[in-house]
Subunit: 415 residues, 2 copies
């Protein structure tokens, strides 16, 4: 017997048939003797419908009212799920954020969870009832409905799992786990059986959008094992947990666990900036104040020692604003020109094994060099190496790296 | 300066344009210096969509979950209305039932309002803010969402008006007031400028579906003047209030205020029932236990003094059940046969003036006799006379009575 949280995303509750399918999974766990709390998203498309209504009402809307409107999507799914579970003979009731209560701060539209009161839910679970919780929502200190931002139901599920001391949190989605890389590009991509929180964070923030980053951080902080599973197939998924140590450690541990890519980057180069102290601060300070996140940065030493080229990446969404801001400060920054390139992609190899293995970056550079892929920018962290290349080479590079790091599936692995 | 509640029904908030139109009315009141609380229904069609989802989830569903799902419709409208008011420069925020709180009993799906806490709302109103309240919903003693049953937003509006000591409650709908009778049948029908609560109750329960009966009862009990108005036209509506007395009394007060009809009746006659003490109880007791409401009843004395014919009406919805029950008790009731007729209509003339004027019923009987309309059953109350006739004569009878009681509009009245 275990206490588990099962979370079903929008495509897993897209219509009544799919809610029934999800409810069937809940029932199987209950029948097996588990205590189950269920977290549901809005039915697929419903949140978009509600957001569109709010935007059409007013482009500049009160985020508190946005939350009141948009949170209704999860409310509907929670009620329907409870009804369908009851029809299957499973005792169940729905809980909204304010009924648990799930306390958040007052940052409407992207609220942060402050505290989840687990008492009422645990009481229910111990009586053999299933608690169906509307994801994505909480209640503010002012007693108003808040939402956690897109994908927030993952965070609800993990926070809840921590609050009710669940043995694990199961995230049901439309993929059957986390893959070594994008299977649409690399057919030999393998499902990863186990991955650490840190690796998952690197993969997720690099573009592998299976779990919301915040939910992974929260799971790591509260030591909640997370299983990513398909709601449509009965297959083992991917376990996201702390690194295994000691006897139980996986002997087959790969140096590189997965390879992510992010097409949502754009490169900006300021040519011939005066090479003087404080120049980086005067470029990146204003960008930071405008809440433009800068990702990769490289500064080339100039031959004459007087000027330098400063290259960095921002998201495509921030690109136009960033360029406009830099153009407006041309007198101050005294660069010669701005070179801009949106046709770039960032590829990152990720693995905790890098900490103890040398030559991981070198293998990446060689594999790309062999295929004449030019590396424009490099950045590294303890468990990650990222390179920026022309988007034209994405597929070629991804397949080459997947093979170079020994990640390709063999027939026996696939079976 | 007045404190008012403005309630907008489903057709008045059917889409964003109509919500804007309704918000325009709120703004005009605010600009005129009024304190305004707004009650909104779900957008037209939305409640049906949600009810259909619940029913499709399970025909036998938990009423508590039904309420959680269905109450979301008003939640969405309240948020959108607040956003649109803000865009118009009106300070506004939405309130859900649990936020006010509006306390109800635990009879989910048809909860009764126990207590409305007006303090928080009055504080807001006194600061010049508009409170937008989701109608139709409250919170139960178990802290769960309840709904008040169909049309419950009218009741929300009146209960709220009583709680915040409003000067009046304005109900905006798709008609411009209460009419002397159905204008689709009687083109000379006139809008009534002022009507008493008692008359409104008789008209409403007889089929003039402008205001929910419970809301009129509540308005009467709490002495809340209610205005019924069109949200699409700028016309004076109908004031529902206590009878005017003393100097201000309307000298033109008609004996009859309006004429209602109800096609939703069906007639049952038990022929040659034994005419013995207790026979009425043995017929109507079981019907009452089965929650079949009997409306009109007439018992004909038999020529022989040993048997009698018992005629009564039930709603069309209860008709089959009522007949089946009576057939099952044939041995006990010892009637000769059952005559059933669904092709009947009840016509009621209503007016507080009847209390002090004789001959009101006689004028009805004469007018119908002149047109050879056969009266099948008669029932009367202090301010009402009802007759059951063949449905074939509905239009003829309605027009004749409208003329007979001097209710026809003249050109000058219509202008």
């Amino acid at each position: 017997m275990a206490r588990i949280v099962q979370k079903f995303g929008g495509t897993s509750v897209a219509d009544l048939d799919r809610i029934r399918n999800a409810a069937g999974r809940v029932k199987r766990a209950v029948d097996a003797g588990d205590q189950v709390a269920v977290v549901v998203s809005a039915m697929s498309g419903e949140t978009n419908r509600l957001v569109d209504l709010v935007r059409a009402a007013s482009p500049l809307h009160d985020a508190r009212e946005y939350d009141a409107v948009v949170a209704s999507g999860e409310q509907v799914t929670a009620g329907l799920m409870a009804i369908i579970l009851q029809e299957m003979g499973v005792q169940a009731r729905s809980f909204l954020g304010w009924q648990i209560p799930l306390h958040t701060d007052g940052l409407h539209g992207r609220a942060r969870i402050m505290d989840v009161e687990g008492g009422l839910l645990m009481e229910r679970l111990e009586q053999g009832q299933v608690a169906v919780i509307a994801g994505f929502q909480g209640v503010s200190p002012e007693n108003r409905i808040t939402t956690l931002g897109r994908g927030g139901s993952d965070t609800t599920a993990v926070a809840l799992a921590a609050a009710i001391k669940a043995d694990r949190c199961e995230i049901y989605t439309d993929v059957d786990g986390v893959y070594t890389t994008d299977p649409r590009i690399v057919p030999k991509a393998r499902k990863i059986n186990r991955i650490t929180y840190e690796e998952m964070l690197e993969l997720a923030s690099q573009g592998a959008k299976v779990l919301q980053t915040r939910s992974v951080e929260m799971a790591m902080n509260h030591n909640v094992p997370v299983m990513v599973l398909s709601s449509f197939e009965d297959k083992p998924g991917t376990l996201v947990a702390h690194e295994e140590v000691g006897e139980n450690a996986d002997m087959e541990n790969e140096v590189v666990t997965g390879i992510a890519y992010d097409k949502n980057e754009a490169k900006i180069t300021l040519v011939n900036v005066a090479d003087q102290p404080g120049i980086a601060a005067s470029i990146f300070g204003p960008l930071s104040e405008a809440e433009i996140n800068v990702d990769m940065i490289v500064q080339n030493v100039s031959p004459d020692g007087e000027t330098t080229n400063m290259t960095f990446t921002v998201t495509e969404a921030d690109f136009d604003r960033a360029v406009a801001m830099l153009e407006g400060r041309k007198d101050e920054l005294q660069y010669q020109q701005i070179l801009a390139d949106r046709n770039v992609v960032k590829i990152s190899v990720v693995g905790v094994g890098m900490r103890s293995h040398a030559g991981v970056a070198q293998r990446m550079f060689s594999a790309l060099a062999e295929r004449s892929v030019n590396i424009q920018v490099i950045s590294t962290s303890e468990i990650k190496v990222s390179v920026l290349i022309s988007e034209d080479y994405l597929e070629l590079a991804l397949r080459a790296l997947h093979t170079a790091y020994g990640l390709d599936a063999t027939e026996s692995l696939e079976a």
